[in-house]
Structure formats: structure tokens, C-alpha cells
Symmetry: C2
């Protein structure tokens, strides 16, 4: 069996065939980088310990098809860990395990694949999750696009925590954990070679530690969401619909970096519709909003948190916003395509 050339080698169809070459790729790359007791069981799937008494399970999945695969602030590898860790965390759970399934395109450089896998391994370690099982498939050149990664996360949610987009009630406050739109604008700016790239960076990060701090301090928290595809606007429209309420935002309170605002203006985008990969929004009773804000601001991942609006009674489930100039406008669902393959 030939040795794998990690410098100049490329993904070949044989790496997905189930034979020795696939075993070699798995053992030298995936098993080596992700190594942990569960993955090392070496069976088709992992056996995991009984969860803590009285906890429930949380399961979430994300397919990642971002283009380009590498971008300022991250790559598809760490993104595929953060995205799913965050989905689990938004249910109020402690993320513990991930599965990872790769669809590789024939001809993709193995050196780049290795960078991606190493980035995943680092992100998983940083987030305290183990990649416990996986799968690798290879498709012919022109039938894929480099690397697609689907991760599925598993975590445990403690008794008494009941977060849902259906929990919002009129009067509740809406908070965000920081600047909106960084991720999406970074990707689009890079894709279009707009020249903003030097100042822009994706916010991709795992938020499980921020959510844990928030839940510990304010157990009356009603809903957590990470506003990814479709941004803050779509996430709030979803929640308004799920809870049967309206939303009233204060534009002046929504944190947007000046460079992101400029890039958005240039690109004809609204930062409220642009994807974030390391930010969350929270809904809590008005009485706890200031306390929650203080807890978020005390955490490094929530330093720029803000109260951005409140839940209203509205039989139409509209999301509305008081603009910086004092006017009022609708913040409707995103209707058209804004940013394809942003995550």
C-alpha cells in the first residue's frame, strides 16, 4: 500500500471505496486528529455513557457547504463544529458529542483537507466536545465542491430548562450577544473580492459557555437562538410565528460594526438579514433583562451585548422596527436569495 502524500496528494475515488485506502485515510487523518475513547472503539457508531439522571437529550444537525472553504476568522472545519455546538447549546443543553460526515470531491488537495480536519479537531477540543463517529464519501470531480461536512451534535439539558421559540410573551425583552452580520459580510466580501476583507472577520465561535453562564444566572430565560442564515430578521420572524406574537426592534440599539455597515451599504445588503456564526439572541422576561445583559457583558463572548427590542401583542406576527431616524418599518422575512452557501 502506497503511503499517503500529505503535501501533494489529492482525494481519489478509492478513498471512499471501503477498502484499504479508505482505512488508511481514516486512521492517518480522522482517527489521528479526533482521537478519543469513543471514536477509538473503532466500530460503526459509538457507544456513549448514560446521560446524567433526569436530563433529556438534545440532537441537532447541520450540513456545511460554505464557499470558500477558508475565510478570515475560520474555515469549514471549525465552522462545522461551532454551528452544531451552537444549535445544541441554544436548546439549553451542554454539548458533548459530535458525529462528522464528509463528502469529498475527487481531486481535492489532501493538504487542505488536513488543515480543515485539524481545525475541526481544535474547535471540538476548545468546545469540550468529542467527535465520536464519522463517515467519508468521495464523489467524482464536478459532482461536489471540495468538501461538504455534516455534523450532528448530542448534548444533555438539565431538568427545569425549557427553551423554545414558542415561549415568547408580550413584554419580554430581546437581547443579542454582539455585533450582527460579521460572518455573512466577510464571506460575501471575500467572494466578490471587494477589498473589505482586511478589516472583516467571521465571528464563528462556540457559544456553549456563554449560554451556560446565562442559564445559570437567569433560569427564567425563555428562548435562545443563533441567528445564522437569514440573520436576526428571519430568526425573529420565526419566533414571532412560533409564539404567535409581534416583535418591536430599536435599530439604534442593534450592534453593527461600522465596517460591516459600510460593506452592507456597498453590497445592497441589510445587516439584519446577514448570517452570524458566533452570536445569539435571547428572550427573557422584562424584569430579568438588565441582569441578563450584565451577565452577557461580563462574558468575553457577550461583551457587546445589547437589549434590542421587545415582544409585542400582534395578531399579524409582524416584526417591526423603530429606525435610527425615528420612523417605523417592517422587518419582513427574507424573500429573495441574499447570500448562497454562507454556512
Amino acid at each position: 500500500m502506497a503511503r499517503i502524500d500529505w503535501n501533494k496528494g489529492r482525494v481519489e475515488m478509492i478513498h471512499g471505496s471501503g477498502g484499504r485506502a479508505m482505512q488508511q485515510l481514516i486512521s492517518e487523518l480522522f482517527a489521528a486528529e479526533f482521537s478519543n475513547d469513543y471514536l477509538n472503539q473503532g466500530n460503526d457508531g459509538a457507544v456513549l455513557p448514560q446521560p446524567p439522571a433526569n436530563s433529556r437529550l438534545v440532537m441537532a444537525t447541520d450540513a456545511h457547504v460554505i464557499s470558500p472553504l477558508f475565510f478570515p476568522g475560520g474555515d469549514i472545519g471549525c465552522l462545522s463544529v461551532h454551528g452544531t455546538v451552537n444549535d445544541v447549546a441554544m436548546n439549553g443543553a451542554v454539548p458533548l458529542y459530535l458525529s462528522a460526515a464528509f463528502v469529498l470531491e475527487e481531486g481535492y488537495p489532501l493538504a487542505d483537507l488536513k488543515r480543515i480536519v485539524q481545525s475541526m479537531a481544535t474547535a471540538a477540543k476548545d468546545a469540550g466536545v468529542a467527535i465520536v463517529t464519522g463517515d467519508t464519501k468521495v464523489v467524482e470531480q464536478g459532482k461536489g465542491d471540495g468538501v461538504f461536512i455534516t455534523t450532528t451534535g448530542l448534548g444533555y439539558v438539565a431538568e427545569g430548562i425549557e427553551l423554545s421559540g414558542a415561549n415568547a410573551k408580550p413584554g419580554d425583552k430581546i437581547l443579542v450577544s454582539g455585533f450582527m452580520g460579521d460572518h455573512g459580510v466577510t464571506i460575501l466580501s471575500m467572494r466578490e473580492s471587494l477589498g473589505f476583507e482586511s478589516e472583516l472577520q467571521s465571528d464563528t465561535q462556540a457559544l456553549h459557555d456563554l449560554t451556560a453562564a446565562m442559564l445559570e444566572a437567569v433560569p427564567t430565560l425563555k428562548c435562545l437562538r443563533d441567528p445564522t442564515r437569514g440573520g436576526l430578521a428571519n430568526t425573529l420572524n420565526e419566533i414571532a410565528h412560533q409564539s404567535g406574537v409581534g416583535v418591536h426592534l430599536q435599530e439604534a440599539q442593534i450592534p453593527v460594526k461600522p465596517v460591516v455597515a459600510s460593506a452592507c451599504e456597498f453590497l445592497g445588503l441589510d445587516p439584519l438579514y446577514v448570517a452570524n456564526e458566533g452570536k445569539l439572541l435571547a428572550i427573557c422576561p422584562a424584569g430579568q433583562a438588565e441582569q441578563l445583559l450584565a451577565v452577557m457583558r461580563a462574558h468575553p463572548k457577550g461583551a457587546d451585548a445589547a437589549i434590542v427590542g421587545e415582544i409585542t401583542e400582534d395578531p399579524n406576527h409582524f416584526v417591526q422596527m423603530t429606525t435610527k431616524f425615528g420612523g417605523r418599518r417592517m422587518v419582513d422575512w427574507l424573500n429573495g436569495e441574499q447570500l448562497p452557501r454562507i454556512c
Copy 2:
């Protein structure tokens, strides 16, 4: 918002953008077909009940990139359920939940997507598993190949059941649940338009009920595996390696349908290396082999089961076979590419 044209419509980039069109596709197709209490929570992930006391969790994942998407005996939809249900079941677990992540190619007919999703829904219902959470991404035409589906399965394994490819000991018997090679030969024959298609059919099916019956009757069972990519030969080489043993097969005992044998001869394939999607191999102590065989044969999915060989002591971890003609040959790992995109 325009209505979705389920007859002539096609997947558009907008169906992956996180906006209203994506919500519409999710609610009219995925949520409608897969509907269950967990999926209907409508959050980014599902909260699932506490597993039974003293059970452990089993997590397994499979990316499905089979081409063609529809084939005699099944399609990528049911295959993506069976493949992961079987991986969970091979760990001795009861499969309960699945996540499903779709990577759709722009331009793919919505009518075909609907057939695939309906097939998944039926397969999940038949296997007693709920599709509890999911994700949908869309890539540009020429950056994917119709539909890729990654499923992740979750199940519970009862106390005392400890299956692993590392458990095999010299003297143990090796059983298979039925005819080998049906799935792979069906796909390749169809792809090459060989004309065998009318007689061939994929064996894709969920095996959780067969494994449950086997474990109930013979709790000393040591290992279960579904010989998918790379077939029986690679699976046995993996086990030999994991357990540090050798394998001795009896070719005359390995069930292969005459039409599969003919197609293999024509294609220059060895049925031992060809993928199965509805068959398993089991390893058990010699003293329980006849009892296990009887239990398997009494089950509709194991009617053609056979004892095909035994585990040997071999420091080289070779898989060897006594041929039908009384000779002896090596059954090595698959070295080359045999069948790309078989699952």
C-alpha cells in the same frame, strides 16, 4: 409568496437561503412528511426524553451519495434510513431517532425530491424511528449531484450487551444473514446498463428487528456488522485486525444468488467485495452457532442465513477461504476502487 410547483418545480438557490422559500420547502415537504412530536417542536434541534435507566447511547452517522438516486429495490431516501438504522443496530442498540441533512443541487426536480423524502418517511416509520431534526442546504448546479443525504442515528443499548469488532476469539463461528452482493451488483448493473436489472434488486432494508431477535435468543453474541462498502471481505479484514485474529471462510457456504454470481463474473467482480445494504454478519461462540442460525432462519430477514466460517488464531490476521474446489486462497483487503458511490 409563490406556491411551490410540486410537479414541474425545481430546487432553487433560494430554497437554501434561510428565508421564506426555505421555510415553505421545510414545512410543505420535510415537516409534513416526517411529522412527529420532536420534529414539530420547531426549534434548531430536538429535545428527546431521558433514555431508559442503565442503558447507554449509540450514535452512528452515514453520508449517502449513491448514484443513481433511484434503483430497483429502493432509492437514496430509504437507503439513508436503512444504512444508519443498521449501524445503530449493529451496536446491539434499539434505534429510535434520526437526524437528516440534505445537500440539494440547484435545478433538481422537486417531484423527485418529494419521492425521495416520502420514501425516507416510509422507511423511518417501518423501522420505528422518528426523524427528529434536520437541515437543508442548496449548492449551485454542477457543485453537487442531485441529492446527498446524511443521516445520524441515535439508539439505546441495554445493560450487558457489549458488541464489538474487537471481541472475536479463535473458534468463534461466523454467520451471515443471507445472500451477499445484491445491492452493489444491482447498482453497477444499472449504471452500466448491463441488462441484468430485471432480475436484480437491492437488498436495502432495516435489520433492527433481526438483531433484536438474535440478541434476545443468544445474548453471548460477540459482534454484529453490516457488510456495506467493501463487502464481506473488507468487513472481515477489519474485524480480524481489531480482534487480532484470523478468519477462515468456506466459499461453498456463502450464499450468493446465481444471477449475482453471473453478473459479478461478467463485470469482473468478486461478490465478497460487493456492498450489501440489508445483510449482516454475526460472530458468536461455536456452542451457540446452531441456535443462532435457527433464530436467524426463523426471521423473514434471515431466512437464507448460513454459517460461513470461523475465527482462527493467526498472528498475521489473514482472512483465508477454502474455495468450492477445495483449494485455499487469501481474501485480502480491497486494494483498488471497485464500486464508487454505492451508498
